[in-house]
């Protein structure tokens, strides 16, 4: 028997409370996830078709998420401003409000929370789209035609995620800080000049680089993990729903773990 290099139709081990088998099950999923990535990062059959798919994904993951990203960022920036103002007083200078809003948005809120939100919005969409294609044999149809279904379906989503999520995060940073400044001035907790001064105090370009580095990794995680769960869905509508839920949960868990590791690596 000739084994194919990437056999993506391996059986899933049965879930169990036995810690050994549980560990083996995790190892199995990690291995199969790696196989899917290896199968995805291949030369597309037709660059013209790939380009069209990539643009569609940029629109689906990026443009269609601008609204929710903007809404969340505006409110996050405004709330951080009010909370910071509430906590300072006396000998703590007012410009701390601007400083805190900037640091919080750049270091954590935008680069981490926005990908988490996108894992819910985009990740579930990716998993259910690919999962439905799996259970209705559309992926089999691609394979029969000779199309590498992983490259065709997964690669454009991963590349689009890696490229567009950092733009969304930069947008979030700008809007969040802007909303913080506006609410600070509007409610009288900080003068615009104080806020501007706080925004510029001890600004390190590396903080933005750190944030965008995290974002690229999170964009990769949320698209690839979601695609993995959809790609290996089986059964019917119920399983597609489950794969969609798993996609969101695991994307968030892996984003959080990666956040800790990357922060330790890049900031210390």
């Amino acid at each position: 028997m000739v084994m194919r290099k990437y056999d993506l139709n391996l059986p899933v081990p049965v879930s169990t409370i036995n810690p050994y088998l549980r560990t083996m099950q995790w190892m199995f999923h990690i291995g199969r996830y790696m196989q899917l990535l290896a199968a995805s990062f291949r030369r597309p059959e037709k660059w013209r078709v790939f380009k069209d798919l990539f643009i569609l994904e940029l629109e689906s993951i990026g443009i269609q998420s601008v609204g929710i990203v903007a809404l969340l960022s505006l409110f996050m920036g405004a709330v951080i401003c009010l909370q910071t103002a509430h906590q300072i007083g006396g000998w703590i200078p007012v410009y701390t409000v601007g400083f805190t809003v900037r640091q919080t948005m750049i270091l954590e809120f935008s680069p981490t929370l926005i990908p988490v939100i996108l894992a819910g919005k985009v990740g579930s969409n990716i998993a259910s789209q690919i999962g439905t294609m799996r259970v209705t044999e559309q992926i089999d149809a691609l394979e029969i035609m000779g199309v590498n279904s992983a490259t065709y379906l997964v690669l454009p989503k991963i590349l689009a995620g890696v490229i567009i999520v950092p733009f969304l995060v930069v947008l979030s940073m700008v809007l969040g800080i802007g909303a913080g400044a506006w609410i600070g001035v509007a409610t009288g907790v900080s003068a615009l000049a104080d806020f501007e001064y706080g925004m510029q105090v001890d600004f390190k370009v590396f903080d933005v680089i750190y944030a965008l580095t995290k974002t690229v990794v999170f964009g990769f995680i949320l698209t690839s993990v979601s695609a993995y769960h959809g790609y290996h869905a089986s059964g019917g509508a119920l399983e597609v729903g489950r794969s969609s839920t798993k996609a969101v949960v695991w994307s968030v868990v892996i984003i959080m773990i990666s956040n800790l590791i990357l922060t330790q690596m890049l900031l210390n």
């Binding site: 139709n9 037709k46 209705t136 559309q138 035609m145």
Partner: protein
């Protein structure tokens, strides 16, 4: 011609296929029949490479498909058309885009040539005016015909049809059967039809393979089917009153 040599496949401890040997002839509609769960679909998936057999190999006109690398398999796969049980049309694309898809992916045709070829295929299945519809807007019979149009777009040498009549009314089922017969002759293809619909078998088959518990128990034609062969075959074929009456009258 497609030949299966000693194909075996197990899932865990469950043996689905046992040492299957079969030959599907060119220019003929080769039926694989059997009860639900007998291993027909797994046999098809092993034949087209969607599932790797544990043992044995498959040849397409002498080319050992099982031994080929992924890249080499692609060449043969582009010669294969497949009609799926649920049609498996891409639901984000219109009917016309579905038919154009393999041409866009694998041919060097210009957009104009692709448009013309897809129009030809849709005309062949009498769906010239349905090009702008989405699969969800088509009836089951129309979806099957779009599936056939997509399958023949690349002028395939081999056509696989998995339960082509499932969920269709008898009249539409006959239209699909006749279409499969006609295009098999037109394109001189090796056609393999997986079915448990005896009407379809009597309507369209040139050769018949009966699968039972993962093995091919009987091979023959629809004429020889009436004579029976073994108990499992007779239980399956003559389960309906209609088939029993056909046998007693001795006429197809």
């Amino acid at each position: 011609m497609i030949e299966l040599h000693n194909i075996s496949k197990s899932f865990g401890s469950h043996d689905v296929l046992n040492d299957v040997q079969a030959t599907f002839e060119r220019g003929k509609v080769n039926f694989v029949i059997g009860r639900s769960g007998s291993g027909k679909s797994v046999l098809t998936k092993c034949t087209v490479g969607l599932i790797e057999p544990d043992q044995g190999f498959v040849t397409y006109d002498g080319r050992d498909f099982t031994a080929l690398s992924g890249k080499e398999r692609k060449v043969i796969r582009q010669e294969i058309g497949m009609l799926f049980q649920g049609s498996a049309l891409f639901d984000s694309m219109t009917v016309e885009e579905n038919v154009r898809f393999p041409l866009r992916m694998f041919s060097d045709f210009s957009e104009e040539q692709i448009r013309r070829r897809s129009a030809e295929c849709l005309e062949r299945v009498e769906l010239s005016d349905a090009g702008v519809r989405f699969p969800a807007e088509c009836s089951g019979g129309m979806q099957k015909r779009v599936g056939i149009a997509r399958a023949i777009a690349m002028n395939p040498k081999y056509l696989f049809c998995d339960e082509p009549n499932s969920g269709l009314d008898p009249q539409t089922a006959i239209v699909i059967d006749q279409l499969i017969m006609e295009i098999t002759r037109e394109y001189d293809m090796t056609t393999v039809v997986i079915s448990h619909d005896m009407n379809s078998v009597m309507e369209a088959s040139d050769t018949i393979h009966f699968v039972h518990e993962g093995s091919i128990l009987w091979k023959g034609t629809r004429q020889s089917l009436l004579a029976g062969g073994n108990r499992e075959l007779e239980d399956f074929v003559f389960a309906s009153n209609l088939m029993r009456q056909i046998r007693s009258s001795g006429q197809l």
